[in-house]
Symmetry: C2
C-alpha cells in the first residue's frame, strides 16, 4: 500500500472511531491526512463508501491483533479475559472516553443504509469471533462453548464501550469483564 493511501486510511480510522461515518467528511479526511483531494478518488474510485469499507477492514485487522497479544502474555484464559477488559478500560480512560471500538459506531449508523459498509463490519466481527474461538479452543474448550463465550465477550466489550463512553466512566467495562471471566471459568470448571 502506498504511504499516502495508508495515511488516508489511518486518519479515517481515527475519525470514524471518534465521530462515526456520517459525521466524517472526505474533505476533513484529506486535510487531516495532508493529502491532495484528488488522491482520495485516485486510491478509492468508489469514493467515501469504498474508503469507509477499506478503513473498517483495516481497523478490524489492527484491532484484531490485540487479542492474541494480550492472551499470549497471560497464563490462562480467565486471566486473559480480565487483562483484555482492563486494557480496554485503560485505553478508554487514556483517550478521555473517545477511543472505543473502531467499527461499532459505523456498524450502528450504516447497517440499515449501506450494504457494502454493513458487510465490512460483519466480516470484521466474524473474523474476531473466529480468531477468538480458535484461541479458546486451543486452550482446551470444545468449539461450541468457545464460540458462545467469545460472542458473549465481544458483545460485552461493545456494549461496555457504549455505556462507558456515554457515562464517561470505565466501571461498566470492568463489571462486564469480571462477568465474562466468571462465565469462562464456569465452562472450564464444567459447571455449565
Amino acid at each position: 500500500m502506498s504511504d499516502t493511501k495508508e495515511r488516508i486510511i489511518s486518519v479515517s480510522a481515527g475519525l470514524l472511531r471518534r465521530q462515526g461515518y456520517t459525521g466524517t467528511g472526505v474533505k476533513q479526511i484529506v486535510t487531516a491526512a495532508d493529502a491532495p483531494f484528488g488522491s482520495l478518488y485516485h486510491f478509492f474510485p468508489g469514493g467515501k463508501e469504498q474508503l469507509g469499507a477499506e478503513t473498517i477492514r483495516w481497523s478490524g485487522e489492527m484491532y484484531g491483533r490485540l487479542l492474541p497479544l494480550i492472551f499470549d502474555s497471560t497464563p490462562d484464559l480467565v486471566s486473559g479475559v480480565r487483562a483484555f477488559f482492563a486494557e480496554a478500560a485503560r485505553d478508554l480512560e487514556d483517550s478521555d472516553y473517545a477511543e472505543g471500538c473502531p467499527i461499532a459506531t459505523v456498524a450502528l449508523e450504516v447497517s440499515s443504509l449501506s450494504d457494502p459498509l454493513r458487510q465490512a463490519c460483519a466480516d470484521v466481527f466474524m473474523s474476531w469471533i473466529e480468531a477468538g474461538t480458535r484461541r479458546f479452543a486451543a486452550a482446551g474448550l470444545p468449539e461450541a462453548p468457545a464460540r458462545q463465550l467469545v460472542t458473549g465477550m465481544l458483545a460485552a466489550l461493545e456494549g461496555g464501550f457504549v455505556l462507558c463512553r456515554a457515562l464517561r466512566d470505565s466501571q461498566p467495562l470492568k463489571t462486564v469483564g469480571e462477568q465474562v471471566a466468571r462465565a469462562v471459568a464456569a465452562v472450564i470448571d464444567g459447571d455449565v
Copy 2:
C-alpha cells in the same frame, strides 16, 4: 405536550434509531412529521441538539417501560431475562435488523462531540440501570450484585444489537441472553 411536538419527537426517535443523529437532518424530520419547518424552532429553540436530547430522553422513557412489562409477565428473574432477550431478538428480526436500541447509535456518535447529547444518553442509561437494579433487588438480590447483573445485562443487550445488526442475524442476542440468564441464576443460587 402538543400533538405536533410529540409527532416531531416520535418521528425523530425512529430516524435516530435507524440512521443516527448526524445522518438525520431537521428537514427530513419536519417532512416526515408533516410539520411546518418553523415549528421545529418554535418547540426546540436550541435547534437540532435540543430536539436530539429531548428525543433521547423520550425514547429512553418509552423503551424503559418494556423491562417491567416483560418481567411482570414472567414468574422469576431468570425467565424474565430470557424473555427480555427473546423479545429484543424478535423486534430486531421483525424490523429487518433496523430497530435495535433507540439511543446507542447516538451515544457512540456524539459522546465525544456534544456534551448535552452525551449527558442525555448517560441519564437514560443510568435510569435503566436504576430501574433494573430496583427490580432485581425487589426479587430478593442484594443491591450490589443486582446492579452488576443489570449493568451486564444492558451491556450484553447493547453489544448484542451491534453484532446482530451488522451480521443480520439474531443469534448473538440469543447467545448473550442465555449467558446473562446463567449469570443471574448463579448469583441467585449463591455460586458466586
